[in-house]
């Protein structure tokens, strides 16, 4: 469905050139659910803008369903539905007018527009507010409307740029149910960027992007295997973190520790029985607690980029918060 070859995007700004996307290669199959992870400024939105024909590549080629985004942008646009990271509604129009406008632009008949508008507005729980101007909507309501709108014309490829930020858990669940159902119904391909771990976890494949480079692409399971079987999380005094880190490095050759300024340190456990206890015993300073857990995508992320994905976002994954909390 998507084929990206040697894609490069350079922005020229007043402070010189900035390479936002640096020679990435990627292909996504028809019907696949692909998630792109990366810290702020990694180049995710830029990649999506090129996919959706809003920006043009500086180098390389991108095709959607076999159609080149530069040579036949209007045919590509026909196939995609997109939910932008930033707002894109007309707030002087009502919710149903925004839907209707979209339906008209995509050539839906009146009957189709009415039907789609009703079922989707009901899905995102805005049916009662359909005649209110978008100006009067809350942030989450606007987001829901944008999602409903993006699905209205049954796109072959749905592009979602951090779609569920600011949505309550129930709405997020309903929307994901709907998206998965649409995938089943007409084989819709999904291309997602997100900072929610569990959203990325349910993807078929995950790409990790950092500073314009795609550092890894694989299934979530395989990516986690790359980290190792288990991750050890220790709670200590914040001022003790550095000494533990250098100790681990010298004594156990563990280089990829992740430090949390609140006094938490986590690292992939080297294989072997009883290792965790051995390590913890020898560490300097106070250790208040230790936890062993399976690696998650955040660990993958830390290991590949040295950055913490969830910490970039106000709304870190709830799952992530659980283990970051005091033990």
């Amino acid at each position: 469905m998507i084929k990206i070859e040697k894609l490069k995007k350079i922005f020229s700004t007043s402070n010189g050139r900035r390479i936002a996307v640096n020679e990435i290669n990627l292909s996504v199959e028809k019907g696949e659910f692909f998630a792109l992870l990366g810290p702020n400024g990694a180049g995710k939105t830029t990649t999506i803008s090129i996919l959706s024909t809003i920006l043009k590549p500086s180098q390389g080629t991108v095709t959607v369903d076999g159609l080149d985004v530069v040579k036949s942008p209007h045919l590509v646009r026909q196939k995609i539905g997109i939910i932008f990271q930033d707002p894109s509604l007309d707030d002087r129009l009502s919710a149903s007018e925004n839907m209707d406008f979209h339906g008209r632009l995509y050539g839906l008949s009146k009957a189709q527009r009415l039907m789609q508008s009703e079922s989707l507005l009901k899905m995102v729980d805005l049916w009662d507010r359909r005649n209110d101007l978008v100006r009067t909507f809350s942030g989450g309501m606007r987001r829901r409307l944008e999602i409903a709108r993006g699905l209205m014309h049954h796109p072959k490829l749905l592009i979602l740029d951090e779609p569920t930020i600011g949505l309550d858990p129930k709405t997020r669940r309903t929307i994901w149910e709907y998206i998965h159902l649409s995938r089943k119904r007409w084989g819709m391909t999904v291309f997602l960027t997100t900072h929610y771990l569990e959203e990325a976890d349910s993807a078929d494949r995950v790409g990790v992007m950092d500073e314009g480079i795609l550092v890894a692409v694989d299934t979530p399971e395989n990516l986690k295997k790359m980290v190792g079987p288990e991750v050890l999380v220790l709670q200590t005094d914040p001022e003790n973190l550095e000494s533990i880190r250098s100790f681990l490095e010298n004594r156990f050759k563990i280089n990829d520790c992740h430090l949390d300024p609140e006094g938490e340190i986590s690292f992939p456990l080297p294989a072997g029985e009883g290792n965790a206890i051995n390590i913890v015993r020898t560490l300097p300073g106070n250790i208040y607690s230790m936890t062993i857990r399976k690696p998650d995508l955040d660990d993958v992320f830390i290991q590949m980029t040295g950055k913490n994905m969830s910490l970039n976002q106000e709304n870190a994954s709830p799952f992530h918060r659980v283990y970051r909390g005091k033990l």
Binding site: I54, S88, L89, R92, G107, H153, L181
Partner: protein
């Protein structure tokens, strides 16, 4: 629970032919502009104030200074009436350009730019919407014609509407072309002021085009609005400075050139998205 949402809807949504789709899209963009103007009553009425000031205060004040017989008119107010109509069109038409930059700032423009319509259709939709808006506002002013003892036959009325729509098209197209590369509405307004006021003052809206110094008459000839004002004045007061074909040709070619330019500019990468 979610499953029954699908039960009453067609799974395949068929895609119309490109031309049909573009025509529908143009209509859609037009409709949005008209709905938005209708909602924005302050804008609808507020934009009448400036032309009214010119018409009654400037026109009234200078009326005694210019004694009759100017270009087929009985008095100065009657003379500038077509010019004031053109001014209202010029100002509201450029609003269409500001609206595009606003759409870009609030992000709505992206929704239009990823939709399956050609950039030419985007430009045509915006130009038609903007010129309809400016025509509606000019018609509100036009309703004052009996006050200036202008006699309008049905034929003249239709001619005036067509002319005003044409001026609107040309000026909106200019505004849209200018908006294509602009990402700040404040910057755009500054730019517009630089362009609109000279266009207006040079158009012969306020003075007859006879006995001007050479440099001024050159500038007047280069101003596309001149021909619009002349056409409208010719139709309403029966006195052309140029001839009907020249007016139509000049206005028409300026408008088409601007539409063409706007479509070209919109085909480039949109700034600041």
């Amino acid at each position: 629970m979610t499953d029954d949402i699908f039960d009453n809807q067609a799974v395949s949504i068929d895609i119309p032919m490109p031309l049909v789709r573009d025509l529908r899209a143009i209509y859609t963009l037009w409709l949005r502009d008209v709905i938005r103007l209708w909602r924005d009553k302050v804008r609808l009425v507020g934009s009448l104030i400036q032309p009214l000031l010119f018409l009654f205060i400037l026109g009234g004040g200078l009326r005694g200074r210019f004694s009759g017989g100017m270009a087929g008119s009985e008095n100065y107010q009657q003379f500038i009436f077509p010019g004031i109509l053109s001014m209202s069109i010029l100002f509201t038409a450029s609003f269409a350009g500001i609206a595009v930059v606003w759409d870009r700032e609030v992000g709505f423009l992206k929704e239009v730019l990823v939709a399956p319509l050609s950039r030419t259709a985007v430009v045509l939709g915006k130009v038609l919407g903007g010129s309809t808006n400016s025509l509606l506002q000019a018609l509100l002013l036009f309703a004052l014609f009996p006050m200036f003892k202008i006699h309008v036959t049905i034929g003249q009325f239709i001619g005036a509407i067509l002319t005003m729509f044409m001026i609107g098209l040309a000026q909106t197209a200019m505004g849209i072309a200018l908006s294509a590369r602009m990402s700040s509405s404040q910057g755009f307004m500054v730019l517009l002021n630089f362009i609109i006021l000279p266009l207006y003052f040079l158009s012969g809206a306020m003075f007859p085009l006879i006995g001007l110094p050479t440099w001024l008459s050159m500038a007047v000839l280069a101003d596309p609005l001149t021909y619009g004002v002349d056409l409208l004045r010719g139709i309403l007061l029966g006195a052309h400075h140029f001839s009907l074909p020249i007016d139509i040709l000049a206005l028409g070619s300026f408008g088409s050139a601007m539409i063409f330019l706007a479509a070209k500019l919109f085909n480039m990468e949109s700034p600041g998205l």
